[in-house]
């Protein structure tokens, strides 16, 4: 697992990513936290207890300086899954494996490279369509990419159909007016 998640501190997707739980094994006794393991009645967490911890917690507890827990490789990143990905990465439902698949894995670059073609083609060809079917198997990063592709396509299509030259009310002005009206109604 890498600790190099160089995302913005306030980035929502970073926060959501580090929420994902990882299977961990306690290596040292942790006193007075026995309630974390609901199956035991003792006051302390014994070494060898298995726990699911959030990524941010596991990262703090499993560093070179203090090795309080050891982290196990989550299932979707183990050998078997890697073989599936090498076979054909296009058909795997990444969303089911974990919506933030890429943010965790390190051996997935090739998987990403294979899938990118499909995302690119689908995002740049789906104009005025329901895209939920296309995006349901994508992980969050890929969805973000899909959106970027759609922006490119939509901007171009709007230009080609000459919709960009029509002046429209700016969103801010419109909502400001609405708010004003609501205020007037209230008083």
């Amino acid at each position: 697992m890498t600790s190099e998640n160089v995302d913005d501190y306030f980035s929502i997707s970073d926060i959501l990513t580090t929420q994902e739980r990882l299977p961990c094994k306690v290596e040292l006794p942790i006193y007075r936290l026995g309630y974390l393991d609901t199956s035991s009645t003792s006051d302390d967490l014994q070494p060898g207890t298995k726990l699911d911890l959030s990524f941010w917690m596991a990262r703090a507890l499993c560093s070179r300086k203090r090795h309080i827990v050891s982290v196990e490789m989550p299932r979707p990143y183990r050998e078997g899954y890697r073989e599936i990905l090498t076979a054909d990465a296009n058909v795997v439902d990444l969303h089911k494996l974990g919506p933030y698949y890429y943010s965790y894995g390190v051996t997935v670059t090739e998987c990403f490279q294979t899938r990118i073609r499909k995302i690119m083609d689908s995002s740049q060809n789906a104009y005025n369509e329901d895209t939920t079917k296309l995006t349901e198997k994508l992980d969050e990063t890929e969805k973000c990419l899909f959106k970027a592709g759609q922006i490119g396509l939509n901007d171009f299509q709007r230009w080609e159909t000459r919709q960009t030259e029509k002046l429209t009310t700016s969103e801010m002005v419109r909502s400001h007016r609405k708010r004003k009206r609501a205020l007037m109604d209230d008083s």
Binding site: V106, G152, F156
Partner: protein, 183 residues
């Protein structure tokens, strides 16, 4: 970048018009235009040509590449070549779009031209997409594409930059891990 901004840049291209009025040189920041003599062709920027046309003050002479035969050849060349071929104008898409909107009566076979240009565009976009794919699949750090036009780049830009960012992140994770195990 907005397609409208690309169009704005394309409007600086020069085009010949035949005015039906006479006027002295006009001095503009971007350069002098004119003098206009009724019936004599003169080169003006595209934006001015469109403006004059809308006021019915001129007839637009289509650029010499805007011709069914030339475009047919271009399309054939584009289909045959594995790489991008040079376009007659760096803003061919925008110019066609603008001229066909306001000066259809000045351009012979306007509909055919529209279809041909659209065909060429589609060919090129498909090529662009497959080259992006090969680029991302290979572990190359840079790629060189000749004769791409601004508008084409513009449609691929949001996707491509994001995808490359993501690749970079995945790769730096990888090398970061190797480094930390070596420490």
């Amino acid at each position: 970048m907005d397609p409208a901004e690309v169009e704005f840049l394309a409007e600086k291209e020069e085009i010949s018009v035949v005015p039906n009025f006479t006027q002295d040189k006009i001095y503009l920041i971007g350069g002098d235009v004119g003098p206009f003599n009724a019936g004599l062709p003169v080169k003006v920027p595209l934006w001015m040509a469109i403006n004059l046309k809308q006021g019915q003050k001129c007839r637009i002479i289509p650029p010499d590449w805007m011709d069914t035969e030339r475009l047919q050849d271009k399309k054939q060349e584009e289909t045959d070549s594995k790489f991008f071929t040079e376009m007659p104008s760096p803003h061919f898409m925008e110019i066609t779009q603008l001229l066909l909107k306001c000066a259809t009566d000045d351009i012979p076979h306007a509909d055919e031209i529209r279809t041909l240009v659209k065909d060429i565009w589609d060919l090129r976009i498909a090529k662009l997409r497959s080259s992006i794919d090969t680029f991302l699949k290979s572990d190359a750090t840079h790629a060189k594409l000749n004769y791409l036009t601004l508008m084409e780049l513009n449609t691929a830009r949001p996707f491509l930059t994001k995808a490359l960012d993501q690749m970079h992140l995945l790769r730096s994770n990888l090398s970061g891990r190797i480094q930390s195990t070596q420490e």
